[in-house]
């Protein structure tokens, strides 16, 4: 029996102690066993949905949507102006806003607000609440996590405008997906430090009760969109992924996003459940890429990164490390599912090869001056082609992935070793650049547009010299003036100007593929397991109306509003 834990996806990983990781194999026995445990009362009746978001350890009350420790007020209780579905290309869905438009040069964003909306305490929702919310972000740097920097103004009761000194098309998605809070209650509190124990929002649910082990929200009968059919939703706190997988086996949880063993056969193992997943995270081997910024090691040579890219057998990798849940990846990092149109036609290959191509790797390395030594490993100037990949202890799927890649790379003459460290240490190494390669995944921005990923991970202004902390997420220390310029141009172009934007994407993608600071592995999926016997309307293929992860607050709210209990017994 394979000694691996259910796979912690990048999102739901909780770093387990070594002890527990070791115990997980034993835990697997428990998990895959036939289940006949009774309903322990945490699985609800027909109209109660029990969700597990990966909360490890008890909840500490906090329903302040701007706090980093918010436990679940976004989306369900407080709503944004619009909802953007990242899994499809389409217009944002109107919530508190009904329509929005940009002026010609992208400096003014005008939003029309929905009429007749009330807060859950009966007060009317007005443009003043919207202006108050954004002004609050400007006044309190500590909660302005999206870097909102526009001047907000009320035009009349149902219209507001946001004004920037420069074109700001790319800032739009963050602005329209910020949740709105009620002025009449928030004007008297400290928004940075208040935990808002009795949240009042416009959303489809209101807080019913809170306990450390679980909190419950109930349907808001006066919701402007009509009362949702799922009457109560209970969120549980368990000890981590293992406990979540056990809860699915025991039937006490209806929806969780995270790994369970033998995921491909979920429906056979647990007839009441099914899985849904969307692959949106580019799993990569991020390299400390720029020798000019202080990176040391063979991975600073782009040819080495390219060779490793071709040395990987992705079909085998997917099977051994990711339970066949991962999907293809484009070396441009644009998602092949929703961003295919933005992939530059001049880039080769369009999609990473599914099998290893050692001859291609050999050709690249030989042309770059590397030669195979007696031990079958390449060397150049007395330096052996040996790379160390940093990984977090307990991330078993990634550890398996490195072992698989190491075997594949060895066949292509590249030595790869894994170095495990704690989450804290690993984070520190990445931010400070004290690493050769690190396995991790990249993430999407607020809208289905590859611009955001490039601006997070490839902008030289988002990095720092080795030894200093990277300002942003560009831990690869990638720096290319052409890419920076293209990113600047993109932020001034209207989303409708596809030709103009594509020209910039072509520039960026050429650099991304040629330099390859993040070596693409596969696109990772977050898999949700949900109860199809009790509820219908889950966002499955063809009906992908939201990103199906229970911890993705704004998406989860859309899903809960859509679900229908099958028998409200």
């Amino acid at each position: 029996m394979p000694r691996h834990m259910p796979r912690p996806t990048p999102r739901t990983r909780t770093r387990l102690t070594r002890l527990l990781t070791a115990g997980a194999a034993a835990g697997l026995l428990v998990t895959v066993a036939a289940c006949s445990a009774p309903d322990s009362g945490s699985g609800g009746d027909g109209s109660t949905l029990v969700a597990y978001t990966g909360q490890a350890g008890d909840y500490q009350i906090n329903f302040n949507p701007f706090s980093p420790s918010d436990i679940g007020s976004k989306g369900l209780i407080y709503e944004p102006l619009f909802f953007i579905n990242k899994t499809a290309t389409g217009d944002p869905k109107p919530l508190l806003g009904t329509e929005y438009s940009w002026n010609e040069n992208g400096t003014v964003l005008s939003v029309t607000l929905r009429e007749g909306v009330r807060w859950s305490d009966g007060e009317p929702f007005t443009a003043d609440d919207v202006v108050f919310t954004y002004q609050m972000l400007l006044d309190h740097k500590g909660i302005n996590g999206t870097g909102f920097d526009a001047a907000v103004a009320k035009v009349d009761d149902t219209h507001v405008t946001f004004t920037w000194p420069e074109p700001a098309f790319t800032k739009g998605p963050d602005v329209i997906t910020t949740v709105i809070v009620p002025e009449h209650l928030w004007k008297d509190i400290d928004p940075e430090n208040d935990v808002v124990e009795k949240p009042v929002g416009t959303g489809a649910y209101t807080l019913a009760d809170f306990k450390g082990q679980a909190y419950t929200v109930k349907a808001n009968p006066t919701y402007w969109g009509g009362e949702p059919k799922v009457k109560t939703v209970r969120y549980l706190a368990l000890s981590g992924n293992q406990a979540g997988a056990d809860a699915i086996a025991a039937g006490t949880v209806d929806w969780q996003t995270g790994p369970i063993p033998d995921m491909a056969n979920t429906h056979e193992n647990f007839p009441n459940y099914d899985t849904g997943s969307v692959a949106q995270n580019q799993m990569v081997l991020g390299a400390c890429a720029d020798a000019a910024l202080g990176c040391i090691g063979p991975q600073t040579d782009p040819a080495v990164r390219q060779a490793l890219f071709y040395a990987i057998d992705r079909t085998q990798l997917n099977k051994l490390a990711f339970q066949d849940t991962a999907e293809e990846i484009s070396p441009t990092m644009a998602l092949t599912s929703t961003q295919k149109a933005e992939i530059s036609p001049s880039v080769q290959p369009q999609v990473a090869p599914t099998t290893a191509e050692p001859s291609k790797a050999d050709q690249i390395l030989t042309a770059d001056g590397w030669a195979k030594g007696a031990d079958g490993i390449y060397a150049k100037d007395g330096q052996k082609l040996s790379l160390t990949v940093e990984v977090v202890t307990g991330w078993t799927d990634y550890i398996t992935a490195i072992q698989t890649i190491a075997a594949q790379a060895k066949a292509a003459g590249i030595e790869v070793n894994a170095a495990q460290s704690s989450w804290n240490e690993w984070t520190d190494k990445r931010f400070k650049g004290n690493f050769q390669l690190a396995i991790d995944s990249l993430w999407q921005g607020p809208a289905p547009d590859p611009y955001y990923l490039y601006s997070y991970f490839y902008d030289s202004r988002m990095t720092a010299k080795v030894g200093e902390k990277a300002l942003g997420n560009n831990y690869a220390r990638f720096a290319d003036p052409a890419v920076d310029a293209a990113l600047d141009t993109l932020s001034t172009l209207s989303p409708q100007d596809t030709a103009g934007r594509q020209a910039q994407f072509d520039v960026i993608q050429k650099a991304v593929v040629d330099q390859m600071p993040y070596i693409p592995l596969m696109t990772g999926a977050n898999t949700s397991v949900w109860n199809t016997a009790k509820f219908s309307g889950w966002p499955v293929n063809g009906e992908q109306y939201a990103y199906p992860a229970v911890w993705s607050a704004l998406d989860a709210a859309e899903i809960l509003k859509t679900l229908t209990p099958k028998n409200a017994s």
């Binding site: 428990v30 009362g41 420790s69 082990q213 025991a250 804290n424 984070t427 997070y456």
Partner: protein, 328 residues
């Protein structure tokens, strides 16, 4: 009196040393709380940009730049005032709130389990020691084996058998979440029902130690002259067992019990992880993984004080319950 002052002086120094270590050790950990918070957020689907970093650095107060010595003084001053600071992983909740919400669960669960285990162990040990060399002695290897197997493995096996296969007990949680916590029978019943399995694993794993210690003390006590005298006088075996042998043999176990009670506070991180129990163990784990200095210090402070306090009490009580220590 002199003896008492010496003892108290020693404990004061030990307390200061513990507090200092408590301050230093968390700061030797790699990483910075803001980084870890951001990394966590980005893994949970939040979009993390430099603006986010700036925002949270402002929010959490960048006290990483103040010199260590002044941090140390502030820390000592705050402890005296009972202010343990703000937890970062549960920001903006004060550490005292976080600890007080979970401490009772741990104290009750582990405390009761420790009491049951020691009582049971001492009782069984007395009987086994009363008849050394008989078949009863086989209890010693049997229980020490249970104490020696990895604890999480034992608990997972019990979960598998008792809750997954037989379905007698819930496998996770501290109470039925449908109920409201409070002093009513229904809730207490639920808490006992949920706590039974974790308590059982602790009892099964730790009863062996108590049993072995008690048995060996019994054997050596039974070879004393006064026991022989009692037998010669023809006292019934029950009396000798209870009043002559067990009473004297239990003394080291009493000391051991007080010390193990102190460790109740630190709970059992593993138990609480396996059973998703709402105690202090999971908080401690969260604090360590998030570089939450304030929370770590708070939890360790409680553990330190409990251990020192228990030791002090045992030190002082032992002179009372065991006359032999006064004979010097």
């Amino acid at each position: 009196m002199n003896y008492l002052l010496r003892k108290l002086g020693f404990y004061a120094v030990a307390c200061w040393a513990a507090l200092t270590l408590n301050f230093v050790i968390p700061r030797l950990l790699p990483g910075d709380p803001v980084d870890i918070l951001l990394a966590k957020l980005s893994q949970r689907g939040a979009v993390v940009t430099p603006e986010t970093r700036a925002a949270y650095a402002t929010l959490l107060g960048g006290d990483t730049n103040t010199p260590l010595l002044s941090q140390y003084w502030t820390y000592l001053g705050n402890i005296v005032r009972g202010d343990l600071g703000t937890s970062i992983s549960y920001f903006p909740a004060p550490v005292t709130d976080v600890i007080s919400a979970s401490m009772p669960w741990t104290v009750v669960l582990i405390g009761l389990a420790t009491v049951i285990a020691s009582f049971l162990g001492v009782l069984l040990g007395a009987f086994v020691g009363w008849r050394p060399g008989t078949w009863l002695d086989s209890m010693v290897p049997a229980t020490t084996l249970l104490a020696a197997v990895p604890y999480f493995w034992l608990s997972l096996v019990l979960v598998y058998v008792l809750s997954r296969v037989l379905g007698w007990f819930p496998s996770q949680g501290g109470y039925d979440v449908v109920l409201d916590p409070g002093w009513n029978l229904q809730f207490i019943g639920s808490a006992v029902y949920y706590g039974f399995l974790p308590a059982l694993t602790i009892v099964v794993a730790s009863v062996g130690g108590w049993l072995l210690g008690m048995r060996n003390m019994m054997v050596s006590t039974l070879s004393e002259d006064y026991v022989l005298t009692a037998r010669a006088k023809g006292l019934p075996g029950r009396w000798i067992l209870r009043d002559y042998a067990a009473r004297n043999a239990v003394l080291p176990s009493v000391a051991g019990f007080a010390i193990s009670l102190a460790f109740v506070v630190s709970g059992s991180v593993v138990t609480e992880q396996v059973f998703s129990y709402p105690g202090i163990g999971s908080r401690l784990l969260a604090a360590v993984t998030n570089n939450d200095y304030a929370l770590m210090q708070g939890v360790f402070l409680f553990i330190t004080l409990a251990v020192l306090g228990a030791n002090l009490v045992v030190d002082l009580l032992y002179t009372v319950i065991d006359p032999r220590t006064r004979a010097r």
